[in-house]
């Protein structure tokens, strides 16, 4: 069954085309050369004789065969008729040719590959040989004429089949040869001798050309001469059989043993063609198995694939043992002594194992070493940039601590102003009141405001629009902290304790909120303050112009009396003129001008002389001489907060309808606006007044419209009266000019409140406190600008920690409602959150504390800053 299959394959191959044997001159010349060079005298004789035989076989064509070559039944049938015809079977000429097959007496058979001058095709010769062996021939001599693959594919039998090839053998002698086949080539062989050898023993008494033993898997190749290029390539070893052996007496050509995967090659190096390199150019590329024993010089090998080793005792025993039959086969036994003289004459090449390859260094020199011995040796210690770098020449991780952090946290406690304090023109730090409440110090919390304002119940608690509350972060969650109510609670608190007297004298001109604030602060600091007020009462516009309905008098009076208790020298009913000013200026270190703005501004248009100013109207109301406006239609020109107060009072005086007009969007807001509109006040804008006709009781506008107006009040603001000031104190467009710190062009003179520009009462109080601070430092010869803190960004306050609630006002609860913006509430959230445990709280005694960062632990992640309820932690770049 098996044989049949193989036979079919052969047939298929035959059908394709006759592969012409390569009849190279190489074969001839190498044969000659082998004869001449390889075997010096006296060993030359037998070789020369054999070579001569070969020559004659080639040169003298044998006569054509006389008889028809017997055809094998089965094989013959398989050939297509046409092809069979082409094959010259019968000699054409008369001289009697020698027969193609000649059976001898001793049982051997001579097969001629050239019959009557006609070359027997490889296919036919193959058939003949196969047929003969099948018929029992065991000793065949083939006189070849370049036929392909002679001697191969003879299935193993109980006896050996010996094939001797004379004449020019074609390519692939003995290809696919089996064990039991012994081939002797009497002369040189062409390419690919022993191709895919499966066990045949092939002896070539000459050279083998390129590709000998290619892909051999078993068997033996003995070569008397040299090998050509690419010998022993792709040989392998099947574990079921002995490995293939190839023996070369002289040397081998280039690219020897490429991709060798198994088997043993021996290159004896006797009289090599190139004594400098017996293994040719680049042997062993891709070799993964097997062994090459060689004797002689080489010029390199594929170092990636194989290693060069000395022979072991086992190697040596194998070599010396197997050398004998080899030398006998090639008739060179006389070299045994020379070839086995010393183990040291020999070397072997063996493939690296995959494990060895994996462990092999990929680089001749590792980079670190290259840096040391080559790079830095040439460019200098530390590399090409070292001379410019200040840092350690080391690596850093992505997450770093200490000075290598990209950002570092800062416990910026109170560095920024909370929105309440920043929003309050008086800069009252309401969050500190909340802190005191949380600490259980309610009384301290309530009285704290007196450090900032003499009129907390009046202003914070009553008339102020409470910009602090409008700014309050808590307002973003539910409702702002009840700062107004906290302010009101201060009504009954006595004045704080004054500092020890300093002896410094300061005069304040004007007893309105600005002047009172400055005097209050300076008095608290221990300075001697003289306050000059033109009217009979302190309070300025609060006292004169704010409707009593909005400001109950008892509150104001109570706070004024607390003010007077502080010991400020009051000069009521004292209008300061130029002369008095000069005196005041002379007798005081500092003069603070806080005279307010009491001269109503008016615009002139027809009928404007019939119009009362808001100032005069409001003042008359508060002085108890209000006009009767019963059922009157009142128009207020100017819809600011004063205009609203006018509207309120006009209704109080009996007006039936009050309309405020303005040239732009009304500036009124807050409580004033609410109170006025609640009473029914209308606001019209934009309206540019053209004229007032008192007779027609109409106010005409430039747009052609008009409005009924029994009474018209002008409420477009007031200006100060500053005619008492010397020219050194610069006044521009009616207003006292001051710097950001309240200083006028005369370093001794400061300005506060409406005299410098119209504002809220709280502005005047804030300016008074500011100027008092500046003056305080100036008199102490340590002038400085008071620190103005930036407001903290709302996003930094984590309102998420707080739950919206519906609380009625209760002072103690306000402490916890306050979000303590920008001011540490000592909750230890940071300490608990810090994954690296870098944050700790340090107790400084007296209730003081701080949070510190261990920079050797901190990685600058920003968690503390991201989660701090108060926005106290901030990340800054680490430079």
């Amino acid at each position: 069954m098996r044989a049949k299959t193989i036979k079919k394959k052969v047939e298929v191959k035959n059908k394709k085309s006759e592969v012409k044997a390569k009849k190279t001159t190489t074969a001839k010349t190498t044969a000659k050369a082998t004869a001449k060079k390889a075997a010096p005298k006296p060993a030359a004789k037998p070789a020369a004789k054999k070579a001569a035989v070969v020559q004659s076989a080639i040169k003298k064509p044998a006569p054509a065969p006389a008889v028809r070559i017997p055809q094998m039944k089965g094989v013959a049938l398989s050939h297509p008729a046409g092809k069979a015809k082409k094959t010259p079977m019968v000699a054409a000429s008369a001289p009697k040719p020698l027969p193609a097959i000649e059976k001898r007496q001793d049982g051997s058979v001579l097969v001629r590959g050239l019959v009557g001058g006609q070359r027997t095709p490889s296919r036919i010769l193959e058939e003949q040989i196969q047929q003969l062996v099948q018929e029992g021939a065991r000793n065949l001599t083939i006189v070849a004429d370049g036929q392909h693959g002679i001697g191969g594919r003879i299935w193993p039998r109980s006896e050996k089949v010996q094939i001797t090839i004379e004449g020019p053998a074609g390519q692939r002698v003995g290809s696919m040869g089996f064990d039991g086949t012994e081939i002797v080539v009497r002369g040189s062989a062409s390419d690919d001798v022993g191709w895919i050898n499966c066990g045949a023993k092939i002896t070539v008494l000459g050279d083998v050309t390129n590709g000998a033993f290619n892909a051999a898997a078993q068997g033996i190749l003995y070569v008397q001469g040299s090998g050509g290029a690419r010998c022993d390539t792709m040989t392998k070893r099947n574990p079921r059989f002995d490995p293939p052996q190839s023996w070369y007496f002289r040397n081998v050509g280039d690219s020897f043993a490429e991709f060798k995967a198994g088997g043993i090659a021996v290159v004896c190096g006797v009289n090599p063609r190139n004594p400098e390199n017996i293994l040719g150019y680049r042997p062993c590329v891709g070799m993964v198995g097997g062994t090459i024993y060689f004797r002689g010089k080489i010029e390199g090998y594929s170092e990636r694939d194989v290693k060069l080793l000395d022979l072991s005792e086992t190697d040596w025993e194998w070599l010396t043992t197997n050398m004998k039959p080899y030398l006998e086969a090639i008739d060179r036994t006389e070299y045994y002594g020379e070839l086995t003289r010393s183990i040291d004459d020999w070397k072997k090449l063996v493939a690296y194992t995959p494990q060895e390859k994996a462990q092999k260094k990929k680089y001749q020199i590792d980079i670190k070493n290259f840096r040391k011995v080559a790079w830095e040796k040439e460019v200098g210690q530390g590399g090409i940039f070292a001379e410019f770098l200040d840092h350690d020449l080391t690596l850093l991780p992505y997450v770093t601590t200490g000075k290598d952090r990209r950002n570092v946290p800062v416990w910026a406690n109170d560095k920024y102003a909370p929105p309440c304090a920043a929003g309050c023109p008086s800069h009252i730090p309401s969050h500190k009141r909340a802190t005191l409440i949380r600490e259980g110090k309610l009384a301290e919390a309530i009285s704290l405001v007196l450090q900032y304002s003499p009129l907390p119940a009046t202003v914070c608690g009553t008339i102020c629009p409470n910009l602090c509350m409008q700014s309050c972060t808590r307002g973003r969650l539910d409702a702002p902290l009840a700062i107004d109510k906290l302010g009101k609670l201060a009504l009954d608190i006595p004045a704080p304790r004054k500092a020890d007297p300093t002896g410094h004298k300061v005069a304040v001109i004007g007893g309105g909120p600005g002047g009172m604030s400055a005097a209050w602060q300076l008095a608290l600091k221990g300075h001697t303050v003289s306050l000059y007020e033109a009217s009979a009462k302190l309070g300025g516009k609060i006292e004169m112009c704010i409707p009593h309905e909005r400001l109950p008098q008892e509150i104001l009076q109570k706070e004024i009396s607390r003010f007077t208790e502080l010991g400020v020298k009051l000069h009521l009913n004292t209008r300061v003129d130029q002369k008095l000013f000069e005196e005041i200026y002379r007798n005081n270190e500092i003069v603070i001008v806080a005279i307010g703005a009491h001269q109503p501004r008016k615009i002139a248009f027809p009928g404007s002389d019939q119009i009362t100013s808001a100032y005069d109207f409001l003042r008359s109301v508060n002085m108890g001489s209000a006009p009767d406006l019963k059922d009157k239609k009142v128009v207020v020109i100017g819809a600011g907060n004063v205009g609203m107060d006018v509207a309120i009072e006009a209704y109080n005086c009996g007006a039936s309808q009050v309309t405020a007009v303005d040239i732009q969007k009304p500036a009124a807001f807050g409580k004033e606006m609410q109170a006025a509109t609640a009473k029914g006040a209308q606001i019209l804008y934009p309206k540019f007044t053209e004229r007032f006709d008192p007779a027609a009781k109409k106010l005409y506008f430039k747009d052609g419209s008009s409005i009924d107006a029994d009474v018209v009040f002008m409420s477009i603001g007031d200006v100060p009266v500053l005619d008492f000031l010397p020219p050194d104190v610069h006044v521009e467009k009616g207003w006292l000019q001051v710097s950001d710190l309240g200083q006028t062009s005369d370093v001794k003179v400061y300005g506060v409140g409406d005299a410098t520009g119209l504002g809220l009462v709280t502005h005047a109080i804030g300016q008074g406190a500011l100027v008092a601070d500046v003056v305080h430092y100036q008199m102490a010869h340590a002038p400085r600008a008071p620190e103005v803190k930036q407001q903290i960004a709302y996003e930094r306050i984590k309102t998420q920690y707080y739950e919206a609630c519906k609380l009625e006002f209760e002072p103690n609860a306000e402490g916890n409602r306050c979000m303590s913006c920008a001011s540490c509430r000592d909750c230890r959230m940071c300490e608990n959150t810090c994954y690296e445990q870098a944050i700790s709280r340090v107790d400084l005694g007296n209730g003081r504390f701080e949070y510190v960062v261990d920079e050797n632990k901190c990685i600058g992640c920003g968690f503390c800053a991201g989660i701090c309820p108060c926005g106290v932690w901030e990340m800054v770049e680490n430079v």
């Binding site: 690219s255 490429e258 991709f259 680049r282 590329v285 891709g286 680089y363 001749q364 020199i365 980079i367 670190k368 290259f370 840096r371 080559a374 790079w375 040439e378 460019v379 200098g380 590399g383 090409i384 940039f385 070292a386 001379e387 410019f388 770098l389 200040d390 840092h391 080391t394 690596l395 850093l396 991780p397 992505y398 997450v399 770093t400 290598d404 952090r405 990209r406 950002n407 307002g475 973003r476 807001f669 984590k798 998420q800 920690y801 739950e803 959150t833 994954y835 690296e836 990685i859 600058g860 992640c861 920003g862 968690f863 800053a865 991201g866 989660i867 309820p869 680490n878």
Partner: protein
């Protein structure tokens, strides 16, 4: 406008992460709140924050409400476009719990917002075009098996080398035979242009300053290693911004091409180093344009101009260094290029090849034709639109420039028409290795006509793990905040980068490219010389492209 009375504005004009190019996916359950991500994020796109979770519940048989409220800490994404997540994934890299990663948001509108302050969006990186480039579409279709000698890249030894410098045709070479040997006939008094034999892939110009010290030194050291140990003659161009004096004075200088650009930074230092040079540089490159940003100049921000840059560029510290889009003394091709080539050649005694580098452009052929007539011009380098840069306007990067393939091809064919294709080498760059196919892209360009191919971004990605990609990932090169430490002068960042590792990777990249180029050239039957212009080996699966490139269409 003012907020309405009594209200607080909340989300007005705030963006959602949906507008941004990358959305942070954060897994609260996995997160241990260690802060490594927020510590490492280069743009502060994420920050720790506080979240409220509140749930009302009712237990029992009748409605009986209770509420549970928990305040937890979380990582949240900042939606300010100036701090938009760039997708670098440094957070993912440092996260011990795989709790965070940026996700590309294809529907983003980032470009609608990147113009704050009335200035255009500036960034580093490359053209954001993730489509498959022409280079990646080119196939090698002429495989030798039986028609002509097929080689085995592993078995056959052959060298992949190219020539940089003008190659005179044999008949013009002033040679004479004396005693059977060819020698230069000095009596002929003919100029023989300098020529260098180099590996056909070079590292393109990236300046000291654009690159951090370890990045630049790593590349330089890798190049030295390749030459000295591996015998692979890879060269590297300096970029504009001078050369480290230690390198100028070392014998490794021969592996470097020194660039001169419109800012001429560091050139007084280079000129002063001339008498101390023990080797000539490989070549001099005159930069006229950059493929990534044609017509856009460079600006090294003052914050990067520290002691190192100041020393090497020969400028004071803390000043902006502008490289204008054009050379100030350039009036015409003839005048400008000729005089620059003359000056630079003269500086090294006409021993060093000098060539100009231009952006890929329709006018490249005009420049080329001029150079073809200039005996001192050593090559022409063309940088296509897919090139990279450290800093440019997004619009310049995305929209300006010419793709390299057809630009190179038409230039090469012009040379062929003049019979000068073997004389004046073309250097091609821009998008080589965009998708990692370094050798294939290089081979394709070579077969379209390039003698040398230049790489930049690829080596940053391959040798230093640059995060950048065609989806605008990272691209922080211009900000000095490179999370890999490649394009920053901040020691805190660049000390993350190990110059030795960069060098090793550079060596690996070029060794592998050498193997792969052989794997391409060997089956095509080429071994002994580079298949420059061997366009019959190329095909493309697009008829129009095939026609434009003069190659076959294959599908």
């Amino acid at each position: 406008m003012e907020p309405a009375a009594g209200v607080t504005l909340d989300n007005n004009h705030r963006l959602t992460p949906k507008e941004l190019q990358y959305i942070i996916r954060w897994n609260s359950d996995r997160c241990k709140r260690c802060g490594r991500c927020t510590a490492a994020c280069p743009v502060k796109a994420i920050e720790p924050t506080v979240r409220v979770q509140r749930m009302t519940f009712s237990e029992g048989p009748i409605p009986k409400p209770g509420a549970q409220r928990r305040v937890v800490h979380a990582i949240s994404q900042v939606t300010d476009p100036e701090r938009a997540c760039v997708g670098c994934a440094t957070c993912t890299l440092v996260c011990p719990n795989e709790a965070i990663e940026p996700e590309l948001n294809e529907r983003n509108k980032l470009l609608h917002y990147k113009n704050k302050g009335g200035d255009g969006y500036k960034r580093g990186g490359r053209r954001n075009d993730p489509s498959i480039s022409v280079l990646d579409r080119l196939k090698f279709t002429r495989i030798s098996m039986l028609t002509d000698p097929a080689l085995d890249a592993g078995r056959h030894e052959f060298r992949v080398r190219s020539l940089l410098g003008r190659v005179l045709p044999p008949e013009e070479l002033p040679l004479k035979a004396v005693d059977g040997k060819l020698i230069v006939d000095s009596a002929a008094d003919k100029f023989i242009p300098p020529v260098r034999e180099i590996f056909p892939i070079m590292i393109g110009s990236m300046s000291v300053g654009a690159l951090s010290p370890p990045m630049w030194e790593g590349l330089a050291m890798g190049v030295a290693y390749l030459n000295e140990v591996e015998g692979l003659p890879v060269v590297m161009a300096s970029g504009e911004g001078g050369m480290p004096p230690r390198l100028l004075r070392s014998r490794y200088l021969k592996y470097f091409i020194i660039q001169i650009a419109s800012g001429y930074f560091g050139w007084d230092e280079i000129v002063r180093a001339l008498p101390h040079m023990v080797e000539d540089p490989a070549a001099i490159e005159i930069k006229y344009g950059q493929g990534a940003k044609p017509g856009d100049g460079g600006l090294l921000m003052a914050q990067k101009v520290l002691k190192l840059i100041s020393g090497i560029r020969g400028v004071p510290q803390f000043v902006d260094l502008a490289s204008p889009p054009t050379h100030q003394t350039k009036y015409s091709i003839e005048e400008a290029v000729a005089k620059m080539i003359q000056s630079m050649s003269m500086a090294w005694g006409f021993r060093v090849p000098v060539y100009p580098k231009i952006s890929g452009t329709k006018t490249a052929r005009a420049v080329l034709n001029n150079l073809a007539r200039n005996p001192y011009a050593a090559a022409l380098s063309i940088d296509g639109e897919d090139g990279g840069t450290g800093a440019a306007y997004n619009v310049s990067m995305d929209k300006m420039g010419h793709p390299i393939a057809s630009n190179l091809r038409e230039c090469y064919l012009d040379l062929v028409k003049q019979g000068k294709q073997n004389e004046l080498p073309l250097i091609a760059a821009g998008g080589v290795g965009k998708r990692g196919n370094l050798a294939a892209n290089a081979a394709a360009l070579i077969m379209l006509g390039a003698s040398v191919v230049s790489i930049g971004k690829y080596i940053m990605q391959a040798a230093a793990d640059c995060f950048g990609d065609e989806h605008n990932r990272c691209n922080l090169c211009n900000t000095g905040k490179c999370p890999r430490g490649i394009t920053t002068q901040d020691p805190k960042l660049y000390r993350r980068l190990d110059a030795d590792k960069v060098a090793l990777r550079t060596v690996e990249v070029f060794k592998a490219a050498n193997v792969e180029l052989k794997k391409i050239f060997a089956p095509m039957g080429r071994s002994t010389e580079l298949p420059i212009g061997m366009s019959d080996g190329l095909s493309i699966d697009d008829k129009a492209m095939a026609e434009r490139l003069g190659i076959t269409y294959a599908c």
